[in-house]
Symmetry: C2
């Protein structure tokens, strides 16, 4: 098994391509390792030099007399393959390839990269890169700075994984400037061998790492990422990710049938949502949230108290609370009484508590000691503006004392500084109290903490499995495949759903007028009459659908009209028969259920409200199959439609449990049969109270299709080139 | 006329309450003025001292032998009144009262404040405060730092108005730290005499100020603010405002009928939207946007080019562009050709342009000189990550040269720093190129610039006035007031609308069965039958409404049922007659139009889609009356419903012009008659194509009512106290 221990915790490192020339990568890496107080031995390898920076150099790794754990490769790309063969020969188990010019430049580079992969696979080598910036381990007993950017970052508990080298550097610089401590840094580049999930697996067991941050442009193996993220949750290590490439989604956002909406970015959103990963939109947020989580205290709920010496900050925090789903705690009467007795008469004793501009450290302490006794409090934001009377350092100190005696209460500070690097920031940092520029940031960060800890503390539910008739579905799919078809007929789609326990509106299939009339009389009028055909996708367009037929006469008339139309269009031979369906006018709410296979992710399940307006409002939710009951309920609750099902404004209530059940049954179906590439139930009628749900129409495809996103990207590229 | 010249540009200043004791406000203010290189004369006034900081002190202003332009008052509140009387006697025309303890502490303070106001009114004195932190003018020829926070901020073109003193200080500190130049600062405190609109009026003509930022908790006189904001627009001075107090809105957001949604924060949103004021949600945004506008170059459109040495930054910027409504420019073929020839083969020549990590200043210059020739470009974002090869200062310099030769192209930089205060930031600052931490900020800021300049460059439209029958409305309102009623009957509401040229569904009023039947036959079946009553608000609840009556028999039956029900409920004497209306089933889209009088703001006009679902999705727009045609069209376009009217997914189109016309007619009605406190047209049916719109139902109230917001705040306070 390849191990990342050789990468992050080597006892000896060879820098292949080390150089004494300043401004070169080989020089930057070697000198960074040499000067970063690395606890092992570093060997420069370069046939051109006898020594590099006064350290004896070797012509190749083979020539080094000692065992080597890690090789950092920064030689020209043409000799990378050879160097790696030598590393393998030497028995090196960890390699970081800085050199670029592989997969990212096209076919020739891809070939080179594949050769490299083959060697590492054969020899059980963990390889980072190529086309990366290196790695850092700030742990005191290692102290390895094998990247070429800056001096070793401050040690801390935040790990940083970056797919982009440049963003990795920028992030490191930013962390350095803002004094955010880093445990490990890794620029994963082309991810030829080691990808983000492998790094996650390592970090989960890395005691120095408490928070994991990541810049990603794709996730190599979603299923493995999902598994690792859940393991990280079990260890209460939050993962904060900025995953770019959302914008294609916007381009297709108007379309709202399953296929269209199921762009891969939605798959990423679903993936992250289903394993508690905190997805952010901006780099600034990555660091803000990471800083917040460094306090390592879990809010038990979402009720915050804002304590300030400036009323305006209290108002800003309150607005931010509402915007971010944070509740301003309501005090118990005894808290109000105590605050009233202790604070000056001009103070505002209600939350946000304003203890006025002349508040000193003592007044803050007094207020805090009262507030903390209130049982309605889950977190604390302390916002202090500098005034003539403010001794910020003293307030910071008393806040630290308070935090020490209340280790279970999350405290986020917003002490505003008069200088660029104020002393109080160091004081707060030592006590693990994160400090932010503006109170709205405190609230936003707190909201993400609340959400994360709520997620990891929720009871684990298993994927529900219903008793189903797998064999019938298998038979239908086999038939279709034998007939070399991709699109199921409506009766086929219905049968698949029925086999998985879903109720479809009453229907019959008939071959001629006589059996059509019989079928209608069995179902009961009014009915719908449709053609059954495998090669006609838009039945309405060819006059193949007649609705609301109230009696036998109307049915006969419709039957003849359909046949006439079909004959005129010379489609007679495509017709397999007739579908007679109940024309269902019972009151209810129309919803859409769908599933769409996404390359690499499995099936993406969609739930949403039906109807024209709703396409406009895009009130839909997505999750990746397989789904637990909780997942299904979360999907429903996430939509505004949930308000309707609960009984909007005193109107009827609907059977939410049944909707959840159908979502799970759909999930089970597409999980059992990955051949199903698309399945749309539109509409599904949700009946009032607990009368259940009925599928009114369904379509299914069992074929590999290019996703809408891929098509969109393709056509955009063509446009650009044209 | 009171003039702010005495406040901001005094030749002589008296600090009343000046003190030599460090840590006191009187000391801070006096020493700040004395040490800020003030170009006039400053006099300490304090009967306790013969001198303050070696400057001769006076026992009161009267004792000063010279004329005084500005008095800064920081004496105990009990003697403020007396001090102001003395100032008036001395002929001082500008006063800043730092002292707190007035309106903000309740009745006693309010009384004190009113006395002060009376004196200043009588003597034409411009007074800032009380309960404020002072003012600053950084202009070289004035250099006045009459506040008690820090040393004088860097001079620049951003004015800062703060209602909260503490936030004012925090903002000043932040600006100081982030090197944002300030022209004027004013803490307006209780706004007893001078309010934000007065300051705006002054700043509009202040050449040193190009951008106006503001922290506000309320706007004293919305109409005057509106006027001043428009004047600022004419001078192309953007106003960036953070107005707090949104959160009450959220508490009532679920309710979506006019009254409920028309909270005062919506009035503020409308006010700002109607005069191009940039409202932001966070303090951080105030400064980001102000920084962006300091480049003073107007984007002509929203097409941006992102040029970077790091692909990842390009992706982040592209995502941000889509999120913020900014278009990634598409290059002309010749641009692509030229870029291809000039840039290394690994570069990405499509926008976002990635010229790779080893790009030097020359490559940036080369790329820029090609890109700038493309006619599809409105703005430029340059994002540079530090790599071994990057000479940031050189890149900054070449960017400045480029900016100099392209003065009409807005350039926003994102040069990332290796040090806390890098040299290149100074280089960029001198060339007026704003630099931000992350590319997403550049895009967000650019978006606000695009929006602002689009707003101020739009053609000015006048408020449309239709020919209407004012007299009829006056008569109806007189009648209602004489009868001491507040709620109009339906026929009264209809008549008012008809008088203002709005079409109401065909109706008649009848007194008995005979005339009811006659009315129905004139209208034509099916009809609706309703009671007309002044004191019964919920007619359905008392069985007073029957719909879809298809013939005379059904009408008769309904008539008797209604009368039976009314009799049983002993409501006979409340009935004024019967309303017979066409039961209108023509296809169309239901909308809601409403007007709600908001204290201080005039009437807030609402437009939105009708129906249950839409209440859920809150697809509504608001504007303050009176409205121009453009305002009305903006309202419609702002909603998602606009997509429906335009013909959603190949469905029917609707008459948008007619909707706009009805919005304007409603605006005209409530502007002409401020007695109308609430007017709801719900639903209004919009017919297909150009068949116009018809009001189906309407309600009106002519009474001063407590707004829902006020009620909500009141009940919340009661809860807190209980």
């Amino acid at each position: 098994m390849k191990s990342l221990k050789y990468i992050f915790e080597p006892k000896s490192v060879a820098v292949i391509g080390a150089s004494a020339t300043p401004g070169t990568v080989g020089n930057a890496i070697f000198s960074n390792i040499l000067l970063s107080n690395f606890h092992g031995v570093v060997y420069p390898v370069n046939p051109k030099y006898s020594n590099v920076m006064s350290v004896k150099a070797y012509k190749d790794v083979i020539a080094i007399p000692d065992a080597i754990d890690l090789a950092v490769v920064c030689v020209p790309k043409t000799i990378v393959e050879n160097v790696i063969i030598q590393c393998a020969e030497k028995g090196i188990k960890g390699i970081v390839v800085i050199t670029a010019g592989f997969k990212e430049i096209g076919e020739s580079g891809k070939l080179l990269e594949e050769k490299t992969i083959a060697i590492t696979r054969k020899n059980d080598i963990a390889l980072i890169g190529p086309n990366c910036l290196g790695i850092v381990n700030t742990q005191k007993e290692i102290s390895l700075n094998a990247n070429f950017a800056i001096e070793i970052p401050h040690a801390g508990n935040v790990a940083l994984i970056s797919q982009s080298g440049a963003i990795g550097i920028a992030a490191l610089e930013y962390a350095h400037q803002h004094d955010l401590g880093i445990s490990k840094f890794v620029s994963i580049g082309n991810k030829a061998v080691i990808d983000e999930s492998d790094i996650l697996e390592y970090l989960i067991d890395d005691d120095a790492t408490k928070i994991i941050t990541m810049y990603a442009e794709d996730i190599g193996h979603p299923a493995r990422f999902f598994e690792m993220a859940n393991k990280a949750n079990a260890k209460q290590k939050p993962i904060i990710i900025i995953k770019t490439g959302r914008s294609v989604r916007g381009a297709i956002a108007i379309q709202s049938h399953t296929g269209a909406l199921s762009s891969s970015d939605i798959a990423y959103d679903s993936l992250f949502a289903q394993c508690g990963v905190i997805r952010v939109e901006t780099l600034a947020e990555v660091f803000e949230y990471a800083k917040g989580f460094t306090c390592l205290v879990h809010p038990k709920g979402n009720r915050v108290v804002v304590l300030t010496n400036a009323g305006g900050m209290g108002v800003i925090a309150t607005d931010a609370a509402e915007r971010n789903g944070i509740e301003m705690a309501t005090f118990e009467p005894q808290t109000l009484d105590a605050l009233k007795k202790t604070l000056p008469p001009n103070a505002n004793i209600y939350n946000p508590v304003d203890i006025i501009g002349d508040a000193d450290a003592e007044r803050f302490t007094n207020a805090l000691s009262i507030i903390v006794k209130d049982k309605n409090i889950d977190a604390l934001v302390v916002s202090v503006t500098p005034t003539v009377e403010t001794d910020m350092d003293a307030i910071a100190k008393s806040l630290c004392d308070f935090a020490k005696s209340n280790p279970d209460l999350p405290i986020l500070a917003n002490l505003m500084s008069l200088e660029p690097e104020p002393l109080f920031e160091q004081i707060l940092k030592k006590a693990n109290i994160p400090n932010f520029d503006f109170p709205e940031t405190n609230i936003r960060v707190l909201a993400s903490m609340v959400k994360y800890y709520k997620w990891i503390n929720q009871p684990l539910t298993k994927v529900t499995k219903f008793e189903v008739d797998k064999k019938s579905v298998r038979d239908i799919i086999n038939t279709i495949q034998q007939e070399n078809r991709t699109h199921l007929t409506e009766p086929e789609s219905y049968k698949i759903l029925e086999a998985y326990g879903m109720k479809v509106v009453d229907y019959r299939v008939a071959k001629n007028l006589e059996t059509t009339i019989l079928a209608a009389s069995q179902i009961g009028y009014p009915v719908v009459l449709k053609i059954v055909a495998t090669e006609i996708l838009h039945k309405i367009d060819v006059g193949g659908v007649k609705i609301n037929l109230k009696d036998e006469n109307e049915l006969k008339k419709a039957y003849h009209e359909i046949n006439e139309s079909i004959k005129n269009k010379k489609l007679d031979d495509k017709i397999r028969g007739f579908l007679i369906q109940k024309y269902f006018i019972t009151k209810g709410i129309e919803i859409i259920l769908g599933a769409d296979a996404i390359q690499g992710f499995g099936s993406l399940i969609m739930f949403g409200l039906g109807g024209t307006y709703v396409e406009l409002f895009k009130d839909v939710a997505f999750r990746l199959a397989p789904l637990t009951r909780q997942d299904a309920l979360n999907m429903i609750q996430q939509t505004k439609a949930y308000q309707i099902f609960k009984g909007f404004r005193g109107q009827s209530t609907y059977d939410i449990e049944s909707i959840a059940e159908y979502i799970i049954r759909l999930s089970q179906l597409v999980t059992d049969f990955s051949e199903i590439k698309e399945l749309d139930m539109n509409p599904v009628k949700v009946l009032e109270d607990s009368q259940g749900v009925i599928v009114m129409d369904a379509k299914a495809i069992i074929e590999v299709q290019h996703s809408v996103v891929e098509q969109k990207i393709k056509s955009e590229k063509e446009e650009l080139v044209a």
